[in-house]
Amino acid sequence: MATTDPPAAPVDPSAPADAEILVIVAHPELEQSRANRRLLQSARALQDRSPPGRLAVRDLYALYPDYLIDIAVEQAALKAARLVVWQQPIRWYSMPPLLKLWVDDVLTFGWAYGPDGTHLRGKDLWLVASTGGPEDSYRPDSYNRYFFDAFLPPYEQTAALCGMRFLPPLVLHGAHKASEAELAAHAQAYVQRLADYPVWPEIDLVEDCVECAVPPSARPTDRVMEAA
């Protein structure tokens, strides 16, 4: 196999992560991605144009190739943000494993939800996703059998439990076959949204987060959390 492209930029984990908009990128094979790599590059370019403290892009697979997430750093970045973006390909109707691990490790009981878990209250969560299958495959009469919206409740409820408002997702269907023009338009729309936030035309129409108070007695017990 020929060598692939060099990584876009050397990863500097100590780069400032405190910003109004926090873009969390998770793609396990970024070198093979068309849409997500494009979006990442566009977001990075916007970050470079923006004043400090406006936008921070964190590429999880570059930061944590060994899947050892620095929880303190991630929580600090979340605390500083007003808008949290999850930029990811849809994998098996869900998120890539490192993003799921990030959710498990970082959004902890007593910090993100549950008693005193109020650090994310009032923030916005925006899902920016791509699918391999075309839009018309997400239909009851096609191989994905459900409309795409049917796969969103876990995301919505994750946001709700943390007291975050779930903004309307930006989804690119059929990313493998998207034309160059489509990709460019998609990236443009993405960057425009990031640049305009919070002045989005439909943002006032989004309902405020439903209150989901978790009683202290309801301890999740599935994994031993790391409280670094």
Binding site: M1, A2, T3, P6, D66, L68, D70, R219, T221, V224, M225, E226, A227, A228
Partner: protein, 607 residues
């Protein structure tokens, strides 16, 4: 007047060295021949800029002392102990074997037995300065032949003392002075004991105290003082100064100041050794040579052949790898500085006459001058001839253009290389161990022979176009040299370096290399993981703990970097870091236990 003489002297020596050495190196003859040539040029038989070389020779001999100190620093006491057999065994074979054969040869030529014995003893000695100097210049101190040369040189240093004491007795009519002899021996043993005890008990605290003053030039002064004092002490009781310095070096080989002492002494050694060779060049008495050119040629050729024969026989039986034998033989065949002293002593005691003494001194000097030339010829013809049967190992010649260069293809570099090959990246691989390369080539690896610290070879290897240069050299000093050279000449290449230990890690870091891995860290952590797993930890939990330990450890290294030369603070900071991590893990275990208790779990907690 005093000042101007000193100034003129410095001007001549430095100027001659600065001109001649780069020229000799450019001609690939090595720096020693450059110094010798410079000496001949400015000496009484050249431009007559200097007329009294003897004074300079005495002063510059201190370069040999400093060199032995540095050699000692590289040799921990246990390693020296393990060398005792080569030193006393093979060293004696060389010295007494050569002496015996030389003396028999001289007797066969009809020479008086006393002269024959003195000449044989003096000529059997080799030049430590040349032998060890060339070894250092070529970075081959650690090879089999390197250790053999060191062993022989050390024995000669030890044997020189009784030999110098015995030579005067050869003069007819000198009675024995047993009492003085016993007293001298007692003094000598006492002095060595003082040096060993003092070195063990006092030196390290003293150096620590001086280092704490944080005045670099005082540390340098202390380092020099240490060598001078040891040398003076040994000299006072009639022992070899170089031997004393060597002992002091060995005693400090394990101390934390080893690297600093090395860096501080190195430039002095280099210059004084250079001066020593200049002085040797100057003291060749061409009048003696011109008077009996054929006789002196025969004498030089004769003793070189006899010594070389003994050495070759030794090399075969020891055994020294075939390709290293020429260097071993050539580096020990010449006469040396001890020869000068033996002949001087003998002349003073009246064992030999002054003209004979200068004849012998001239023969020794010429043999020293010949050594670099012979070495050059051996590199050119002899070693390739020996290698001829097998595939010839040539230095890298064809320019390479791969994006990755691996310097050093031992245990570490091989793994890096295999991983790269497996992924379609074909690195250019350099190593300077001929045997290793032979072995690697048998496995189908394309490995080039070349010293990665050399600028020209790196350029041929394609360093100016390479994106990454992996410095996987195991020798710390060479690794540092290589990195410095790359940083200075191929700024575009990213360096990925192997660190032998933490000090090496820091040195690389200070040179601006950020992609440094300590060679044992990750494998040790894997073993720690296995241990935790056997004790009942979940494999994934053990993995997470190991990775977090690693992250903490690397961060800790960066945090204590500023104190790395201050041992007390280093230890304190390291202890503190360890404590932090232990506390962190303890808190987490506690919290996990609480959570599980709250949740009413019946499952077991972490062991």
């Amino acid at each position: 007047m005093e000042h101007s003489a000193w100034l003129t002297g410095s001007l001549i020596y430095l100027g001659a060295a600065v001109l001649a050495v780069p020229l000799a190196r450019y001609l690939k003859l090595g720096s020693i021949i450059g110094y010798l040539g410079a000496g001949i040029l400015i000496g009484p038989w050249g431009l007559k800029l200097v007329t009294r070389p003897e004074d300079m020779l005495q002063f510059a001999e201190f370069g040999v002392v400093l060199m032995l100190f540095l050699v000692g620093l590289e040799l921990e006491p246990q390693r020296l102990w393990s060398l005792r057999k080569p030193i006393f065994g093979w060293g004696s074979v060389q010295l007494f074997g050569s002496t015996l054969l030389l003396a028999l040869g001289a007797l066969a030529c009809g020479i008086d037995w006393r002269l024959a014995v003195v000449a044989a003893l003096g000529l059997a000695m080799s030049s430590t300065a040349i032998g060890l100097g060339v070894l250092a210049e070529r970075n081959v101190m650690a090879t089999t032949s390197g250790e053999a040369i060191l062993s022989v040189a050390l024995l000669q240093d030890i044997a020189a003392i009784p030999i110098l004491a015995l030579v005067p007795f050869l003069a007819a009519g000198v009675g024995s002075e047993g009492g003085a002899g016993w007293l001298g021996a007692a003094k000598a043993i006492g002095t060595i004991a003082v040096i060993i005890l003092g070195g063990r008990l006092l030196l390290r605290p003293a150096l620590r105290w001086i280092a704490n003053s944080e005045t670099p030039e005082i540390f340098t002064a202390a380092a020099l003082l240490l060598v001078v004092a040891t040398a003076a002490l040994m000299n006072a009781v009639g022992l070899s100064m170089a031997l004393g310095a060597f002992l002091a070096g060995v005693l400090l080989a394990e101390s934390e100041y080893r690297r600093e002492l090395e860096t501080d002494i190195e430039p002095f050694k280099g210059l004084l050794l250079g001066l020593f060779f200049i002085a040797v060049g100057m003291s060749i008495d061409f009048a003696v040579v011109m008077a009996q050119p054929l006789l002196i040629a025969a004498a030089v050729a004769g003793f070189l052949v006899i010594k070389a024969g003994v050495l070759w026989a030794m090399a075969r039986t020891m055994p020294i790898p075939q390709l290293e034998r020429p260097v071993f033989v050539i580096l020990l065949a010449q006469g040396g500085e001890f020869g000068f002293v033996v002949f001087q002593t003998a002349a003073l005691a009246g064992v030999i006459s002054a003209p004979v003494s200068s004849f012998l001194v001239a023969a020794v000097t010429i043999s020293m001058l010949l050594t670099p030339l012979l070495l050059f010829a051996a590199d050119r013809w002899w070693i390739p001839f020996l290698a001829g049967g097998k595939r010839q190992i040539e230095e890298i010649k064809e320019p390479q253009h791969e994006p990755v260069i691996i310097a050093g293809f031992g245990r570490y570099g091989q793994i890096v290389g295999r991983m790269l090959f497996a992924n379609g990246v074909k690195p250019t691989v350099l190593d300077h161990d001929a045997e290793q390369i032979e072995a690697m080539r048998r496995f189908g690896w394309r490995v080039f022979y070349g010293d990665a610290t050399r600028l020209d070879l790196m350029r041929t290897a394609g360093a100016d176009k390479a994106r990454v240069i992996v410095v996987a050299i195991d020798d710390i000093e060479q690794s540092i040299d290589c990195v410095k050279m790359i940083r200075a000449n191929f700024a575009n290449a990213t360096i990925v370096a192997r660190a032998r230990n933490v000090q090496h890690y820091y040195e690389l870091y200070e040179l601006g290399v950020t992609l440094v891995e300590r060679e044992t860290l990750d494998s040790a952590l894997m073993s720690a993981r296995s241990t935790l797993e056997v004790l009942g930890w979940q494999p994934h939990r053990a993995r997470n703990l190991a990775l977090r330990f690693r992250r903490h450890n690397v961060a800790q290294l960066a945090a204590i970097a500023p104190h790395r030369k201050d041992e007390a603070r280093l230890i304190a900071a390291a202890k503190q870091g360890r404590q932090q991590l232990e506390e962190l893990f303890a808190i987490e275990r506690q919290q996990a236990a609480e959570r599980q208790a709250r949740a009413g779990w019946s499952g077991t907690t972490d062991p």
